[in-house]
């Protein structure tokens, strides 16, 4: 860990304080030319990635985004130009030692199959010669951070985990030595959409807590909009087409290339900018296991609802049965825990619509980071939110045109 790593508070746009433990990355006139190729893979790239921000690299395949990423940890050496992290030229350091101070997360996790989960996470701490106790504590902490129970998963081998779990361990491995900078190469590309959404939400939560500087390559514009503080859109030769916040990229694409890339339906894409916790939740009827079923049904019917959210003793939703199924029971009991798909409050409206469309309830249960029940959202709450947003935008525009007129 470099001593110059900054630990200070920085206020983000929403005014709340946020931790920054990241370091600034600067690329200056970076060129990468492969022998025998006419055009440079990366042609004169200069960017600054501010400390503590998430920058998403996106562009068509072969545009040099991955090459640019890998030059930051010297997996690929630039032909010319300088790259600095926190002001230090990365060429001034031994490549292996440099990489130990930069987190690296790869598609699918790329876990070492012959090492246990704990040993996979401990790879970098071991290289840094931490003592055993410290490594064990850190492993525990990280498994907790990525939502895996340490006691259950520590000694498992990667093949005994699902794709999403492997990816979580991959993230934990990248964060193991608490690096100020984390590089991610299509981290969530290899998992199914629901798991991907979950992992993205979790990554946002982790990032809010840690404030690393993250550079992430993706090919999914929705992912870029959702995760990025800034998006860098590349065209061939790693030419910068636009480097701006997701809001600005959507509202004002710099040129036709960006507009094409972002694609049609950018109002729809705006859905990726709003979070579920900005919505007004519907107050749904809830009941706990062991409660009187008839009472719950009565309360639901009084509220005009056809189903009841069942919570466990820690307030986490576990089932969403229909009234007609509860009528015959005396107390509420969940025999078979169904795979209840819930929505993280940090998920985007896009994710919310996705979840609702695949649910038979025409709605989705929202939970917080600890899986506790918060409320229910339905299509109406989403459209209501869009309407208020549109109204606000229109008002702002009218105000602007009035200003211009006067």
């Amino acid at each position: 860990m470099s001593e110059s790593t900054q630990h200070h508070q920085q206020a983000d746009e929403k005014g709340s304080a946020r931790t920054v433990s990241g370091a600034e990355i600067q690329l200056k006139d970076v060129v990468k030319r492969y022998p025998g190729q006419k055009n440079a893979a990366v042609n004169d790239l200069s960017i600054t990635v501010p400390a503590g921000e998430v920058v998403m690299f996106i562009g068509p395949s072969g545009c040099g985004k991955t090459t640019s990423l890998k030059m930051i940890n010297r997996l690929i050496e630039p032909t010319s130009g300088t790259i600095t992290i926190d002001g230090d030229d990365i060429r001034g350091r031994d490549a292996d030692e440099l990489r130990r101070t930069i987190g690296y997360v790869i598609q699918g996790g790329s876990l070492f199959p012959h090492l246990t989960v704990a040993d996979n996470i401990a790879v970098v701490p071991k290289l840094l010669k931490w003592d055993k106790k410290r490594i064990a504590e850190r492993t525990e902490e990280l498994l907790d951070l990525v939502g895996l129970e340490a006691g259950r998963y520590r000694d498992r081998y990667p093949r005994e985990l699902s794709g999403g779990q492997q990816q979580r361990v991959g993230v934990a491995r990248g964060l193991a030595a608490d690096p100020p900078v984390v590089l991610m190469d299509e981290p969530f590309g290899a998992v199914d959409p629901i798991t991907r959404q979950r992992l993205q939400d979790e990554m946002l939560g982790i990032q809010r807590e840690l404030g690393k500087t993250i550079v992430c390559v993706t090919h999914d514009i929705d992912e870029a909009i959702k995760l990025g503080d800034r998006i860098l859109i590349f065209s061939e030769g790693a030419k910068i087409e636009q480097y701006d916040t997701p809001e600005n990229v959507l509202a004002a694409p710099a040129n036709d290339f960006v507009a094409d890339f972002v694609g049609a339906g950018s109002t729809l894409k705006q859905l990726s900018l709003s979070r579920v916790n900005e919505l007004n939740f519907v107050d749904w009827t809830t009941a706990r296991i062991g409660d009187d079923a008839q009472d719950a049904v009565r309360r639901a019917e009084a509220a005009g609802q056809e189903c009841v959210v069942v919570l466990d003793d820690r307030g986490r939703p576990i089932a969403w049965p229909w009234n007609r199924n509860l009528r015959r029971a005396s107390t509420i009991d969940v025999k078979r825990r169904e795979e209840l798909v819930t929505l993280d409050e940090r998920a985007t409206l896009n994710d919310a619509l996705d979840t609702m469309l695949s649910s038979s309830h025409a709605g989705a249960i929202v939970t917080d980071a600890r899986d506790k029940y918060l409320g229910v959202v339905d299509f109406e709450s989403v459209t209501a939110h869009i309407r208020t947003q549109e109204a606000a935008a229109q008002e702002a525009q009218e105000a602007r045109s009035e200003e211009a007129a006067s």
Binding site: D96, L98, F112, P113, P158, S162, Q165
Partner: protein, 272 residues
Amino acid sequence: MTDLATPPSTSASTPAEGSGGFRTWLSRKGVTRETLGMLVVPPLLIAAVFVGFVIWRQTAELDSIEAQQLRWSEIGTLFREHLALTVTSAIIVVALAVPLGIALTRGALRRAAPIVVAVANAGQAAPSVGLLVLLFLWLGSGFWTAVIGLSLYGLLPVLRNTITGIQAVDPTLVEAARGVGMSNVGTLRKIELPLAIPVIMAGVRTSLVLITGTASLACFINAGGLGEIVQTGIALFRFSLMVTGALLIALLALFIEWVGRLLEIAYRPKGV
């Protein structure tokens, strides 16, 4: 943040109670029912055939030449010689072929790999008797001449499997290892070699069996071994000696192949 996805439940991940412990251990080691059969059947077969041979040997009417050649002490000596030839050659093969194979997957030497494999291929394609005789003409008779010949002969499988095994390691894993800060040597030691071990060990097993069989020719250059029983049988036309020699060599080869399998399982990294 609980998991949406439950882990693919494998028998390996849930340690079975009590007596299931051994089975769990086996399945962790990647031992399936078929391989378990391959582990249990050969030693039983070898033991059964050997017991049959002992009974025949103790009860049959042998003439003086047969009795001379089939003394237990004589068989024991030849067996020890055969085993010494095999094990020494195999150790030399591993000591040479594994480092050579590793070197041929690194840096600039990578380009030399096909050439070296071609040479080793030629070494194996050459008739083994011819190879031994040529070495005899050059170096004279004896144990070490035979060992050199056998080592040359057994080099290829280990060399080829070392190269293949290392090349077959998923390149994204190698890049992941380098990407988190492992050195070139560290990546080889901690990632590439452990993952290549099953393939390398399969090569060692093939090589061991080849050497065991070929060592029966060592008697032609006066280096002993069970081949002598066969040779005596041919020279003096004693059918019983020919069969005995061939049988004992076959049993030893089977036994060595079985040991090779055990080594393969013992050295296989967990979780693969």
